[in-house]
């Protein structure tokens, strides 16, 4: 009897022991983290171009070097990352770009070549995205602003959504809009001096182009000047661009992945530039005139392959067509070679060929019966080649003093329009 009682007590104690553990509430539940500086990216580049057939000069070839351009561009991106209570990753990026350029053709907006030949462009950006790792989705919003001497402003807005599937594929959609106000800066010979333009209901204004190429507005009433220079008011025209971008990326095997991308682009408004001249076959010059609508369809394919242990093949092809009659093909290949696991050298080559838009003709080839006309060689028929190399250094512990990654790239670019350019760029990342 005692044995039975002891046995029962023992079993009872064992039973109690089995349930003696305190229920482990999940104290490792996700905690939100505030936005924190993650990395800072800097990019600087230099571009130097020589060309003769600038659009400002209507494609003339007797003004040698009238298409020469230099451009110095700098960009700064700051990225913050945080997690919300639901475990979703939030990213906030703020960027600022500043470009300074000189352009020989710009001086010839004034027919005597006295207009300013340089300019500065400033363009801030702001992007936010939220990523749900469990669902494999990412949603983003972005805004962009740009200001330069030949347009009042450009405002850009975009939204994007991507979704990963269980087969290592990812589908993305992005909607983008740019809303530009183009300043109607005319070549000086087209600005009617001493002509009266009605701008306001109670005043009239005339525009005079000074030797520096600036347009000043003088207030007139009853055909007589009534005051000093008023604030310069240059008319503007709108240009809107709407883009729907679709892309699909897929891991093919352990060494290869590819993607296909397609954009549907619609532009409307003033699609030329007011200071681009066109010389007709009569010898008379006018301002280029292009249709007010344009549909574009580029389709791009990428294929990356890891060859052996140290060589990667990065291949890209793009087909482009639009309703202005342009058709183009782009093909490029880049071959990063890993000298060490953290240093790679990447030679590249790119070939491009385009067929002209229906409205293009060279200097003094357009007729007075043409409804639309341009002599901008960027819209003409030509082919181009570019080649160069880059070097990338990204050791796991950084390079020096917080500098995490450095990438330098140099290239040479030529067109069959006799345009040639060389460029160099540097990109570095500083981790917080």
């Amino acid at each position: 009897m005692r044995k039975i009682c002891l046995t029962v007590v023992g079993m009872y104690l064992m039973l109690l022991h089995a349930f003696s553990q305190v229920a482990n509430t999940d104290s490792s539940g996700y905690k939100s983290k505030k936005l924190k500086l993650d990395e800072v990216n800097l990019v600087s580049s230099y571009y130097d171009q020589t060309a003769d057939k600038s659009a400002v000069m209507g494609g003339r070839t007797d003004y040698k070097g009238n298409g020469d351009v230099t451009d110095l561009a700098n960009g700064l991106d700051i990225k913050f990352i945080g997690w919300d209570p639901k475990g979703r990753k939030n990213s906030l990026s703020a960027g600022l770009g500043i470009d300074y350029h000189t352009a020989a053709s710009q001086a010839y907006v004034d027919s005597n070549g006295h207009a300013r030949n340089n300019g500065t462009r400033i363009y801030p950006t702001l992007d936010w995205s939220i990523e749900n790792g469990k669902k494999g989705t990412e949603f983003g919003l972005g805004a962009y602003y740009s200001a330069e001497h030949n347009y009042y402003h450009s405002i850009g807005l975009n939204t994007s959504l991507s979704k990963k599937n269980h087969h290592n594929g990812e589908f993305s959609v992005k909607l983008n809009g740019y809303f530009d106000r183009i300043k109607m800066i005319l070549p000086s010979e087209f600005i009617p001096v001493d002509s009266v333009k009605n701008v306001l209901a109670t005043a009239t204004v005339i525009y005079v182009t000074t030797a520096s190429g600036r347009t000043q507005a003088l207030t007139y009433a009853n055909g007589q000047p009534v005051g000093g220079n008023s604030k310069p008011v240059i008319p503007s025209r709108a240009r809107d661009t709407y883009t729907a971008s679709f892309s699909f990326a897929q891991v093919i095997n352990q060494r290869m992945q590819g993607s296909i991308a397609m954009d549907l682009v619609y532009q409307s408004g003033y699609l030329g530039l007011p200071f681009h001249r066109v010389y007709l076959n009569t010898g008379k010059d006018t301002i280029e005139n292009l249709p007010s609508q344009r549909f574009k369809l580029p389709i791009g394919l990428r294929l990356n392959y890891f060859l052996g242990d140290n060589i990667i093949l990065r291949m890209y092809y793009r087909f482009y067509v639009d309703n202005w009659g342009m058709v183009s093909h782009t093909a490029s290949i880049e071959v990063p070679v890993k000298i060490t696991p953290f240093i790679s050298i990447s030679p590249f080559y790119r070939y491009y060929v385009q067929k002209a838009v229906n409205y293009f003709a060279p200097y003094e080839k357009h007729t007075t019966s043409d409804q639309y006309y341009t002599s901008n060689y960027a819209l003409g028929s030509f082919s181009s080649q570019s080649f160069g190399a880059g070097i990338r250094i990204a050791p796991p512990k950084g390079i020096i003093a917080g500098l995490n990654m450095l990438e330098i790239r140099y290239g040479h670019y030529t067109q069959t329009t006799d345009l040639a350019a060389c460029y160099g760029a540097g990109f570095w990342t500083i981790n917080a």
Binding site: V43, Y47, Y144, N168, M256, Q267, G272, Y320
Partner: protein, 77 residues
């Protein structure tokens, strides 16, 4: 080989490769992605190429399908 023939062959080859390879993808587990996840294998332009892409957009008539601009946003055509 003429230029148009070169591009016709290139496009046909890449399209055929894509049509053949994408559906025939073999499953790749996370621990097998050491090469796929290499920074040089990213399916996008390098960030250092940004200004280079802009220059191409200004000097050439076509753009898009490469993560860059498709038009607008600047004082260019």
């Amino acid at each position: 080989m003429t230029k148009s023939r070169f591009f016709t062959v290139s496009l046909a080859t890449l399209t055929a490769l894509s049509a053949f390879l994408f559906p025939s993808c073999s499953p790749v587990k996370e621990y097998q992605k050491s090469r796929i996840n290499d920074s040089e294998m990213i399916l996008a332009n390098r960030k250092v190429e940004k200004t280079e892409l802009n220059a191409q957009t200004y000097r050439e008539g076509s753009s898009g399908a490469n993560g860059g601009k498709t038009g607008g946003g600047c004082g260019c055509n």
